[in-house]
């Protein structure tokens, strides 16, 4: 009997739908909390202010609500991350872990991309009269004395009641990360989400990590796969300094530009979808498959636009901006000059302008 029960439990878990697993993980997490913590982590499903309380900025600059990982004990933290993991694919969760780890590296480097690198915010002349620009406080403290960076500074919140039938939402984020996952029955919607990294290339235990490396490499490969005429259409003749549809731009659809996928060959379209999958497949596999089916169906109306340098050093990240857009998709990849090397500080945005927070 002692051996049969765990086996039965394992078989039951394996038979669960992804939504059932996420709901189980949510309830398991909530059961580890005391009443005060439960109150802090839960919000009404239609709490618009909480829905929109996300940013690329550190939490000391833009306060988040919910529960901070650093305020949880070990078992609560494990349960919180198990919930995040259940809602994402294996690669999606790995990406999230690498983004959070990057922020820990940033903290340990005193807000610099590399130990001994340029000062926080430096590299482009610096502010007049001091050279102390960038996120104030470097790695130690932000405005008001709050800590600025590190893996303890990520927040989790739940909007609505975890359910297999009625919609609810999981938010997880902090500096360079804002995951908004709406669970609506079998559907898992990840838009809008902000996925960034600084440093976007770092070393841990001798291993080089690039949280958004595939996003950089695959887009570069696609650009290189285009012929001259296609490149002329894809490469914009002007600089794009930042995300066009970053935080605060919900529900907006800009006119697409660049090269339309209907003017690509089959191999190029496959490469384009492979770039898209880097964002669409962050959510759990079943939801990702449904999303990719939706996006494949509108591939002819998908656009690819590039602005900036058209080459990259091997093993490094591109320093160019790119955008992929179709009727139900906006992806922006925007390297940031803050910190010196734009390839080391990347903001990306993943949207469905017709379906913010799974409203549809």
């Amino acid at each position: 009997m002692g051996r049969i029960l765990p086996l039965l439990l394992a078989l039951t878990a394996a038979a669960q739908t992804p939504t059932a697993k996420i709901v189980s993980a949510a309830n398991a997490f909530l059961s580890t909390l005391d009443a005060k913590q439960r109150q802090a982590v839960t919000f009404s499903f239609d709490d618009e202010a909480q829905r929109k309380r996300w940013s690329n900025l550190p939490v000391a600059m833009v306060p988040r609500a919910g529960l901070k990982l650093g305020d949880l004990n070990a078992s609560q933290r494990t349960a919180a991350l198990a919930l995040v993991s259940a809602s994402l694919s294996a690669r999606g969760y790995e990406k999230v872990q690498q983004i959070v780890e990057a922020d820990e590296v940033l903290k340990n480097n005193g807000g610099r991309n590399t130990a001994g690198g340029p000062p926080p915010g430096g590299g482009r002349g610096g502010p007049p009269g001091g050279g102390r620009g960038g996120p104030p406080g470097g790695g130690r403290g932000g405005p008001g004395g709050g800590a600025m960076f590190g893996k303890d500074l990520y927040f989790i919140s739940i909007l609505g009641t975890p359910s297999e039938k009625t919609p609810w939402m999981l938010q997880f984020g902090g500096h360079h990360l804002a995951l908004n996952v709406t669970i609506d029955g079998a559907r898992g919607i990840l838009t809008p989400s902000l996925i960034g990294a600084q440093p976007a290339l770092y070393t841990v235990a001798g291993k080089t990590v690039r949280p958004l490396g595939a996003e950089s490499d695959k887009a570069m490969a696609l650009l290189n796969a285009l012929d001259e005429s296609q490149r002329k259409q894809a490469i914009l003749g002007f600089k794009v300094a930042d995300l066009v549809l970053g935080p605060g731009a919900d529900g907006k659809t800009i006119q697409p530009e660049g090269l339309r996928a209907s003017n690509m060959n089959e191999k190029q379209r496959t490469m384009l979808l492979d770039v898209v999958a880097e964002w669409a497949s962050i959510v759990h596999a079943e939801a990702a498959a449904a999303r990719m089916t939706q996006l494949k169906a509108e591939i002819a109306d998908m656009w690819f636009a590039w602005s900036g340098p058209v080459t990259v050093e091997p093993g490094k990240n591109i320093t160019a901006y790119y955008r992929i857009q179709s009727p139900h998709l906006v992806i922006e990849y925007a390297p940031q000059p803050l910190g010196g090397d734009p390839g080391m500080h990347v903001h990306t945005m993943y949207r469905d302008p017709t379906n913010d927070y799974g409203r549809k």
Binding site: L57, P247, T253, Q255
Partner: protein, 208 residues
């Protein structure tokens, strides 16, 4: 009094959603909404930490460290004076619609965004139109972005957007249902015939 209340409502000192952390640049992103008889400009201005003193000095004219309603409105007017909007070679006169300013602390940290909305009325025009937009606000420290939103009116189709390298100059070609170009050229002749017919009928009626 009513006008003052409306003005106060339109000029709000609330935090716009926080955006990127910039350093030595003043990011000015413009989103353009095209309608048949109206063009709207939504300009989001995000000041980097290093350029905050210059930006804030231009807003806080009395130097008291606070953005008053009057200062906010005056700054919006200054931005309005630094942009140019035109359609089909005609200069447009956009007017102030609303403004949102973040707290001074947020501006100082390089995280708050100022959001200004301007709009201009346009005549219904022909079927092929060219909108031009120029932003010359704080050129020494600024980076610009400008994009058209997909029109809500499904009959309006954006044909092409052109920009210079810095996106300070922008041209937008679009089509809309209207008088066809070939017919458009005949408009003076048609108007002349209509006027002649009108006076002829009037003369006849008088004579009767």
């Amino acid at each position: 009094m009513k006008r003052a209340l409306i003005a106060a409502a339109l000029l709000t000192l609330v935090a716009a959603p926080a955006r990127a952390h910039r350093l030595d640049e003043y990011l000015q992103g413009t989103l353009i909404t095209i309608e048949r008889t109206r063009v709207q400009l939504e300009i989001t201005l995000t000041s980097g930490v290093a350029v905050f003193p210059a930006v804030f000095a231009a807003i806080d004219r009395d130097g008291d460290g606070v953005i008053s309603q009057a200062e906010g409105r005056a700054y919006a007017d200054r931005v309005l004076g630094n942009i140019a909007l035109g359609i089909d070679d005609e200069k447009l006169s956009p007017h102030f619609v609303s403004a949102q300013f973040p707290s001074v602390a947020e501006l100082k940290e390089g995280q708050g965004a100022i959001r200004l909305v301007f709009a201009a009325d346009v005549d219904s025009g022909g079927s092929e139109r060219r909108l031009t937009f120029q932003n010359h606000h704080e050129p020494r420290i600024s980076v610009y972005q400008v994009n058209a939103l997909v029109p809500r009116d499904r009959d309006i189709h954006i044909v092409e957007q052109k920009r210079n390298d810095t996106q300070s100059l922008y041209e937008l070609d679009y089509t809309q249902p209207g008088i066809r170009k070939d017919v458009e050229g005949m408009a003076p002749a048609i108007a002349g015939l209509a006027a002649a017919a009108y006076f002829a009928v009037r003369r006849r009626m008088r004579a009767a």
